[in-house]
Symmetry: C2
Subunit: 199 residues, 2 copies
DNA sequence: TCAAAGAATGAATCGGTGTTCACTACTTGC
DNA sequence: GCAAGTAGTGAACACCGATTCATTCTTTGA
């Protein structure tokens, strides 16, 4: 034997992998998924196109990871905001506001993560996270039902509808045109009413 | 001169054009936009691939027309249902129910028209119809504000959110999985509450 | 220093579709 | 029937980006 992958090499490999994912993330956030060719990602990460394939089996796998990590960050942020103590109505408002403000801060990324056309393999990842979003809001509805703060309803349907309302009201319009922050309180009120939370 | 397009020829041309659009519509309704190649459409319409280009300048133009006609039919149906006399709450319920039942009847088509990834040129058409949907619901909200049946709100934001809620709650889930008709009354209640319509 | 093995490269390949166009078939008016 | 002009055809082309792989560059342990 004459070669063995040392810790130093492994570190460099890891760093390169992270640089590739990071570059892909940045490109998506700036230009969207469309127009994110492997060559472009490789260039941004300062590696050769072929090198990308030493870390990911194909394009779908790379962008699935990008979507996974990016969306998880959003879900975590909203979950944290909604987990703080308070009435269900208050927690709901905080969740919507957190989602909205973050989307307004990175509109292109938000559009890419939620609505932009993507490859089937990436779409599968998105589907999984749609479920995560729905679960998050369904949990809030469950809490409201248990405490009697919310009127009878199917938490899954209500949660899916609420997620759709947020996406359409915020993300899709942002795609074409500029941010309109006044939408946030309107949307919060809409969601709060929709689930039957008094205030 | 030795050739002039007679009425008979024009009729045949028109018929062929309609056959192409109709074939494209059927293919979208069955398999979605993805996998609707020009060759497939031509085959279904029983013309050569090149013949499609005697009626449409490119693929985008063909499918833009498919989307336009299909969506207009849906908008018209919902508009008619919501135009019947009654309280705003009643008209709203009828609108949601009409939308929902039609979507459940043709889930693949509904998904294609509302959520499926499409070409930019077709996306532009969709964007225009998103506005049509929003206008329709915004009009209902306007009526409710005027009559005092609905509480103060931005009709545009509420309408966009309501449209998003319908799309997400119905169309997107339908894409993967089977129809669940019990969703309709849940969704109706959700929308009614969200706009602040008492019942 | 050297051989062995892995890592990195990027030009070439490949596959899939939209589009074209040289050609055939048909229609028309004389 | 015939010439002029149009409609219809479908194989060939063009394009584009993902993927491959023969080659070069690095690292390793002796």
């Amino acid at each position: 034997m004459a070669y063995r992958r040392t810790a130093a090499v492994q570190e460099r490999l890891d760093a390169t992998r992270i640089r590739i994912v990071s570059a892909a993330h940045d490109l998506v956030a700036e230009h969207g998924y469309a127009g994110c060719s492997i060559a472009l990602v490789a260039g941004a990460a300062e590696v050769a196109t072929g090198s990308v394939y030493r870390h990911f089996p194909d394009k779908g796998a790379l962008f699935a990871e990008v979507f996974r990590t990016s969306t998880q960050r959003e879900v975590d942020a909203v979950a944290a905001a909604s987990a703080l103590p308070g009435t269900v109505a208050q927690r709901l408002s905080r969740a919507v506001e957190t989602f909205a403000h973050r989307a307004l801060a990175s509109p292109r990324l938000a559009y890419a993560l939620i609505a932009e056309p993507v490859d089937p393999r990436v779409e599968a990842e998105r589907l999984a996270y749609r479920a995560a979003w729905t679960d998050l809001f369904a949990g809030l509805v469950d809490d409201g039902l248990a405490s009697g703060e919310l009127p009878g309803q199917d938490p899954r349907v209500s949660a899916a509808a609420a997620v759709g309302a947020m996406a359409q009201a915020l993300v899709v319009p942002l795609h074409h045109g500029s941010a309109e922050p006044h939408v946030v309180p309107e949307l919060t009120a809409f969601i709060t009413r929709s689930l039957g939370a008094s205030s």
